[in-house]
Symmetry: D2
Subunit: 346 residues, 4 copies
């Protein structure tokens, strides 16, 4: 019913090359539970891409699953996670972390990022056994608000974590989009070296489903498959995950798709900016948060799908437009045309 | 390196018609998290196939995930699951049920089935607040040992559960194989009416991955999506599950694939029986448990993949041969030929 | 080493009448696990005191235990607790609620109280299955900051909870002190009628240990002893709890002790106010939060035990003074004298 | 209504010397949460009694609490407990261990003991990530069936645990009774050296309530107070526990009380044996399991409280008689007289 949706980057299915790879090897017999050749190959490709020859790599089916298993695997019962108040694990995962028994200690912050001093303050406040013990810091790149950690920022945070005896975990649901952004000076090998564990998302970047968990800290590698199995994440046909990541990683398809999504978002932003629109935060990845009048929003919603992100003033709200690997220039241009018509009409 | 593997029914990828369906609609934009059109269509097909117009249907990525979420969704903290000692949830799911906080009360039984009186005895033994309260009975069709509940047996068990105030849950990882078996007098609508919740497995019957949870008891339907989300099972691209089940359910492809797997297992069994081989249990689904001499097993293992199931006597063991939708008559006949050669050599 | 401690109301042991009651019946044989005559008698006395003839009453050994069991007993896995950011369960119970699998949704608030509109806002924000479902509201009387809910305030909150389908739970670790306060217009029977479950604290009011959980909502009464047992709270000698509450409840000893503690706190407050001291909040229970200069605090700490509560300005902090059933006028007067000397010296 | 109860060893309250000690120091001000002088003193006495100068000692209010906290504190999510099928944690603690997320792997055994080979077999069966990983072995002394581990037996089990990388935990709810038994060659310091953690029970041996957890393995000592607090076991007035253990440990009162209980049980056994009664197991502690005719049992139950333990044949059952620190020779002799009258009448 919508002419086009900018709701999210998982509105379409998988990229044709991913589907082709799944079809290509479907009759080959492979061992189950991630011990298949495609998963081994995808893991090898990821070790190269991350510059982490010693990393352990595991594939799971979704982001909430990746987060809850990764975090629960490193925590003892009395230990907690430190995260920004806007963090996905806090707001939008239905208490998945708490369901594994752990508290999340929140840090306020306007831009969705965690500052080293804020983490230090949380640790300082948790001084004895009447309070949980902070043990792992959760960040995402890009953040929930679409902002990016610079290399210097993540280095400072990583250093603070090491100094405080905390692990650093990074949720990379849209990491490819960050890596492909001209605004990002934090390359994958550097990022991998600064954190203890992270995941590179496939679902939001052309896979049918799937996220790749990369454990760079050797101390966190043992027994991880037990955690996967116990939480229902060890797929019998693990090849379904491995095969997709082979397709995404070979020839850097994952970066190509992310660059395309970013470019479509930039095309949206450029068009809107030219028409005088302001934005909530700089558009640097595949997410754009333009601030529009409520009247314009109402008219655009008749033909386009998107989320209203939050009210800005009495007459304006920010909306969220998301571009994907499958967004076409034509769809973007149609939106910009209709926007122009809407504002002219208003 | 093996000429052919009979390890399991998830050694190959997805059936070509499943892959074709995934490819066919990949560019269509769909709502996320299972609210997509293919998932709605697959649910409707399942309501028809199960004769349960009021059933709630949800799709998840694997069997352990289906089991842990289904069971935890119906239990209060002090309530337990009753299961056969051979049950998959007890032996081979890494304590997934216990990780959600619940004990499994075990019932011994030679054939992998639960008898109503055994369930009554467990309930009678748990008389007060110093013990857990049994609340849900776990069965599978076929059982872990390849046996089948008859309609009369499941009716008796269902009646005992209702009488005792217990829910009845059925793990149907290989349910299609049971339904397609000539030895099975328990049709899907009857089964659906006798249990409160069950799942129909896709992973072991031609899907890339995926299981369909069917909740026939209306009291257990509310809030199920919260449980899915909290345990990491609500895929952003839920369409990846729905689309596959559309392919499997349309024109009863799932039964066609199961019949093929059963036929290949029967071909194995017939050939071996003709050579004088005995079996651990009657081969009635896609699993065959022939008892072979250790020497024969050793020779066969050079060319074929299969699991040794258990020792029978000093010189013989049972092996497990599993046929799938992709097993060819040629592969079966090659195995039988090599078996004949092995025994001749012995 | 201190002349006297105002650290807390659990610095002394049990009141002599409590100990006498324990000694009086020590050789009588009683059934175990709370089925003893003293526990039955104490429960009956509590039903009278709360005007709740249908209430279920259970005795446990401490406040964190009471809170975690009460809350976990009413929640399904995806449901959460709503509490003030200053709540004890959030800050000072080492993630006990999260360890049972549940998130706490926090509400900011200067005075430690929850306003009905704040609760309504939390419920409104949690609209779908991507977020937890708020299900029980946690308050304490007095609050963590020593403030009191008026009858009108708790009525409004209770009405909001009923309207929103939420349970209302009240932590009464220091409830006797509130009930005995002249500033409190909320009597025990009214309070009991407004909440679904609460506990009346013994540990901080003359018991050796023990809290009495009162469940007024019949829907929450079944199976509570299972929860007690599973969490390790069902004492074999449950009589040890029941006997103490008989001593506290007969002749309203619990109110007499609380009135004494309040009076000693008021004596402290009056003396300090006369010397020009200001307070963090009005002293209405057995807790007093005077604001003193850092120099004065340093001198007083040489002879008296108390907690520094928080910094007020560059040169002043608030301290917390707590009076108990055992605090003597002489101890209070000595403190006031030494305070006078300290400030004179300064 | 009963002339006397032999139901259990927690039917009476606390020993007068325990109560006197509680009364003696009730007005002294002490730090909270186990940092009080009596708890420190009791811990020191226990380090001496166990010959373990480096042991960490903590006091909790009950046995289920001790077990669930001790076990959960050493396990990672995928790890399990190995226990006898008769173990209290499996049968009679309402799934307390499972509620912390962990499976119990059961070992059959007629005498309630765990044999090293049985533990080795469990470990051997749990070979990969599809099953839990056994990590701690649970035993009790005496066992649930009243039998005792000899020094040689516990040494062999301890050696097997070290060899297999398992921790060994001992539930000592009635440990004093074992230590005081002439049939026991396993002294406290030897026992303490063979296990990694254990508790010495107070509740069943003259305390009002309380168990002393002793952690001899230094690797298991850090952060234990966090676990205590999170599970609701850190009493504000920890002195209530420490003071009682000071009374029990000074002058070895705990052994004196256990010897008395054992002697009363032996007096029962001797009297019954003289009358030709047989027993279920040798009476070696304060528990006696005589096998009586159903008619005799029915007559004795009119005047005496005891549990019927299990049916032996069509006309006979075993009953369980428990003697305590408070059982008098007169009560025993009255029972024996009435038994003689009962059988004469029959």
């Amino acid at each position: 019913m919508y002419r086009h949706c900018f709701f999210d980057d998982y509105s379409e299915g998988a990229h044709p090359r991913v589907l082709a790879q799944l079809a290509a090897d479907t009759l080959a017999q492979e061992p189950g539970y991630g011990n298949d050749a495609p998963s081994q190959r995808a893991a090898a490709l990821l070790r190269i891409a991350t510059g982490s020859p010693g990393a352990a790599v595991h594939f799971v089916s979704g982001g909430t699953q990746a987060n809850l298993i990764a975090l629960a695997s490193v925590l003892r019962p009395h230990e907690s996670v430190v995260a920004a108040a806007s963090a996905h694990i806090h707001v939008h995962e239905t208490g998945a972390v708490e369901a594994t028994g752990h508290k999340i200690n929140l840090v306020a912050g306007a831009d969705g990022k965690l500052a080293p001093d804020a983490v230090r303050a949380v640790v300082a406040q948790h001084a004895d056994e009447h309070m949980v013990r902070p043990r792992v810091v959760f960040v995402s790149q890009p953040t929930e608000l679409g902002t990016l950690y610079s290399a210097a920022e993540l280095e400072a945070l990583s250093e603070a974590c090491r100094e405080l005896g905390l692990y650093l975990y990074l949720d990379g649901a849209r990491l490819a989009s960050a890596l492909a952004s001209p605004a990002c000076d934090l390359a994958l090998p550097r990022l991998a070296a600064l954190v203890d564990m992270f995941y590179l998302g496939g679902t939001k970047n052309g896979a049918l489903f799937g996220e790749a968990i990369v454990i760079t800290n050797p101390a966190l590698q043992p027994d991880f498959r037990y955690h996967l199995k116990q939480r229902g994440a060890l797929l019998a046909k693990g090849r379904a995950l491995g095969t997709q990541f082979v397709a995404l990683l070979e020839d850097d398809l994952y970066l190509e798709l992310a660059r395309h999504a970013n470019a479509m978002a930039a095309r949206l932003a450029t068009g809107l900016r030219a028409a005088g629109v302001r934005f909530l935060g700089d558009p640097v990845t595949n997410l754009v948060f333009p601030i529009l009048s409520d009247a314009t929003i109402a008219r655009l919603r008749e033909a386009y799908g998107f989320h209203v992100w939050g009210r800005v003033d009495d007459a304006h709200s920010a909306i969220r437009l998301v571009a994907s690997w499958a967004t076409t220039p034509a769809a973007v241009d149609a939106f910009l045309d209709d926007f122009a018509a809407s504002t002219a009409a208003g």
